[in-house]
Amino acid sequence: MIYWLLGAHGVEVEVDTETGEVKILKVYAAQDTGRAIHPDNCRAQLQGGVSMGIGFALYENILLEDGITLNPSLLDYKLPTAWEIPEIETILVETPHKEGPYGAKGMGETTNVALPPALANAIYDAVGVRIYDLPITPEKILRALRESKREEK
């Protein structure tokens, strides 16, 4: 059985233009689940995926130097803590998949994939700069803000 995982994200952010720090205010995560056999589990998966996406977008970074991983510990490879996760609104879109059992298809933490671009777009909407590589750090935002000011002149 072949199926496509379809979803969409919305992200509300606040960017501190003096420090470049990003604060995510709210995330909306929608996914086509086919038929949600256990809706609460589906929402839990979306929430988990959003938190993975936030880590992917803002905090996680493998520091490699000459083939050596400099941050092999959970202290230095930064997974989001409870503080980093904003309010998440999950939306289950049920379009029954004709080949799936009861119309269901797989769904899961694909929200992981959609969140970083949604976040990057939200940052562009907020402060007018685009960041093209992850993680989106305050430094990259400050640098982009300065360059865009220079270009304006």
Partner: protein
Amino acid sequence: MKLPDFDYRKPVSLTEACEMLSSEEDARPIAGGTDLIPAMKYGLKKPRVLVDISCLPALREITLTEKGLTIGAAVTLREIVKSGHNPLLTQACAAVGSTQLQAMGTLGGNLCQDTCCLYYNLPPMTRQALRPCFKRGGDTCHVTKSGKVCLATYAGDVAPALLALGAEVTIASPVRERTIPLGELFSGKGETPQTLNRGELVKEITIPSKKSFGSYLKLRVRKSIDYPLLGVAVNLFPNGEKGVSITVGLTAVERKPLSFTLPPDLSEEKRIEVWMTYLADEAYKRAHPVANTSGYSPQYRREMVKVYVKRAIEEALKKSDEKNLLDSK
């Protein structure tokens, strides 16, 4: 991960503890263990003897006298926060690590924590790919690739707040006690960050009872668990007609915590912008973060020094109830 072998001793008095630390070849004190145990698990430290000081009555008291607030070295950060004494100190202690780490970590332990470096704090398997650096007893520094000196950073949160408060530290030994300004506890050396002699133990710190308003701001990647990548403590002592005396404490930007004070001629000028500009510039001059952390570049951290000093001053002013602090000429 397994700890290396060691002998465990539990002294019943402070004198006995100091004697144990003095007489053993390679002994270290242990209280919460949040700094020492991970280092031992990584095989970075292998003390032959651990002396448990976590329950020594002489180190567990919080006392308030006219002289000031005295806190024993084995009082935990959580206990300090819950005691509600001194808002600036409470803010700094509450910023450390996480709830569990504050519950285990002690005041003395936090002050006497080791310096950290991305190239040093590595598990054995990763470390074997790197030539031993100065902090490991070797002959190089990986931060600068051609360094002549260890650049491991001191990243404790409590020290800058206590420095901004003008705290003193009392150090016990088998034969005597000595009290010095807190700044003198730190050596500025990446390899051995404290100036304690063998057999010496931090007993308590004393904060003078001058009225003051302060704020501690911590730059960190996540809002929990992480060390500071920059920590700024600002403390304002209202001086009546003489204006305001301001002390700034910095951490995570050097091999030891730093502090400096607004000069008296500037403090008489009741103009916040003048204070902010001077203190931000001074902090920037003194801060030399290096590329040995797992988040944010040294350039960014140094740039944030100015922003954080200014914001910390604003925060501290908000807490002050002195109306005439904000008069401008």
